[in-house]
């Protein structure tokens, strides 16, 4: 139809648009939420405006980092061209844009929640500020991990030479890889946000429980990222599994289906895992002596919640490996 270089330019521009377009959503939502809660906190106690605004800006900066990753990917897509250009490189460019853009949505929203609750906590208990801010920073930073997974897939798609991969079904593999990590990271990011938000407000109320609450928060955050990791795994498989040339529609559609299955399948369980660990963290802060019981229940509940994500992973693996 068109020669490979024209196609690459066209799709790279489209990929850059998708990357920054989707990527801007999450960070804006999260930062807006932070600003809103900060305002509510200030309405209770206007004299602490200096501290609250400083904290709000720091929290918003961490939320922004996901959007900055998207901007970096978009700029690389706009200006950098690989040395060997074949038609499949265009599909890789679109996949990269989707991967980075979609995954930044969840992390942006998620990192905004602990920042908001931190502002509220600083106003209510100004004596515990340092602990509140530390926990907020740790929680927000770990919330960025799903966006980091999306960025790794985007860079792999941009910088690896895929000229040895056949165009059919390779095009669907590139697109599917971008969708799998991108979509799955949305749920994990938002879920992690719930957990960190509750951890920060729990520590604001009961600072003597900081060690246990932080520990359970980190466990909850990490297990909550499992769905993003399954999407990451499926993306890596789609990129590096050697597919043979096959011009049938079904062969391409199965790879696209695999990407969509793990991608969408990570959204719901990600949010659910976040809800489970959020409530667990809230009650660890209130009743530190029940930590063992709460962590066990949380892990059991999270294991069952993850089951639909595992079904989606199995369907993806079936589509990639068996068919």
């Amino acid at each position: 139809m068109f020669d490979p270089t024209t196609l690459l330019n066209a799709s790279a521009f489209m990929g850059a648009a998708l990357a920054i377009g989707f990527g801007a959503i999450g960070a804006a939502l999260g930062e807006g939420y932070t600003a809103g809660i900060a305002n509510e906190a200030l309405s209770n106690k206007p004299e602490s405006s200096g501290d609250v605004i400083k904290n709000m800006l720091v929290g918003q900066a961490i939320s922004e980092s996901a959007a900055i990753f998207s901007l970096v990917v978009a700029i690389v897509l706009l200006f950098s061209r690989p040395s060997t250009v074949v038609t499949i490189t265009s599909w890789a460019a679109i996949g990269a844009g989707l991967s980075m853009g979609l995954s930044a949505i969840g992390s942006g929203v998620g990192s905004g929640m602990p920042a908001g609750t931190a502002c509220m906590g600083i106003v209510r208990q100004p004596g515990n500020s340092s602990k509140i801010i530390t926990t907020m920073l740790i929680g927000s930073a770990v919330c960025q991990t799903p966006a980091i997974f999306g960025m790794v897939i985007a860079f792999l798609l941009l910088f690896i030479d895929f000229s040895h991969v056949p165009l059919y079904p390779g095009w669907a593999a590139m697109l599917g890889a971008g969708l799998a990590t991108g979509l799955a990271a949305i749920g994990s990011g938002v879920g992690n946000g719930f957990t960190s938000g509750e951890a920060v407000s729990g520590i604001a109320r009961q600072p003597e429980t900081t060690t246990e609450t932080t520990r359970v928060m980190l466990i909850g955050l990490s297990v909550g990222q499992s769905t993003a990791i399954y999407g990451f795994l499926v993306s890596l498989l789609l990129l590096f599994y050697g597919f043979e040339e096959n011009t049938n529609l079904s062969s391409s559609m199965r790879l696209l289906g695999a990407g969509l299955s793990s991608g969408f399948g990570g959204i719901g369980p990600g949010i659910g895992l976040g809800l489970a660990s959020a409530y667990a963290v809230r009650w660890v802060a209130r009743r530190r002596e029940e930590v063992g019981n709460l962590v066990r229940t949380m892990l059991v509940g999270m294991a069952v919640t993850e089951s639909t994500a595992i079904y989606a992973l199995i369907v993806s693996l079936l589509l990639i490996v068996v068919f």
Partner: protein, 82 residues
């Protein structure tokens, strides 16, 4: 891509299996997670009843799982049977 009749059907079946399981996993995920969270809250309020509360949580999650299982069945039907 050359597209023939049966090949088109198979292609759409694969795509459909992916979409079915993918979208079908969203609901049970959020619902079961919320149930697990509320169970942790209940145990925090009343740790002596941990056994009863965990059992109730698992029963509720199993019911919530049912639509996820329907999606899995349809996906497997699309993959293996149709």
């Amino acid at each position: 891509m050359e597209i023939s009749g049966p090949d088109f059907i198979k292609g759409m079946a694969f795509l459909g299996a992916g979409i079915a399981m993918g979208l079908g996993a969203i609901g049970p995920g959020v619902g079961e997670g919320f149930a697990a969270g509320k169970a942790c809250e209940a145990i925090g309020k009343n740790p002596n009843e941990a056994g009863l509360l965990t059992r109730t949580m698992l029963v509720g999650q199993a019911v919530s799982e049912s639509t996820g299982i329907y999606s899995l069945v349809v996906a497997l039907l699309l993959l293996f049977v149709v």
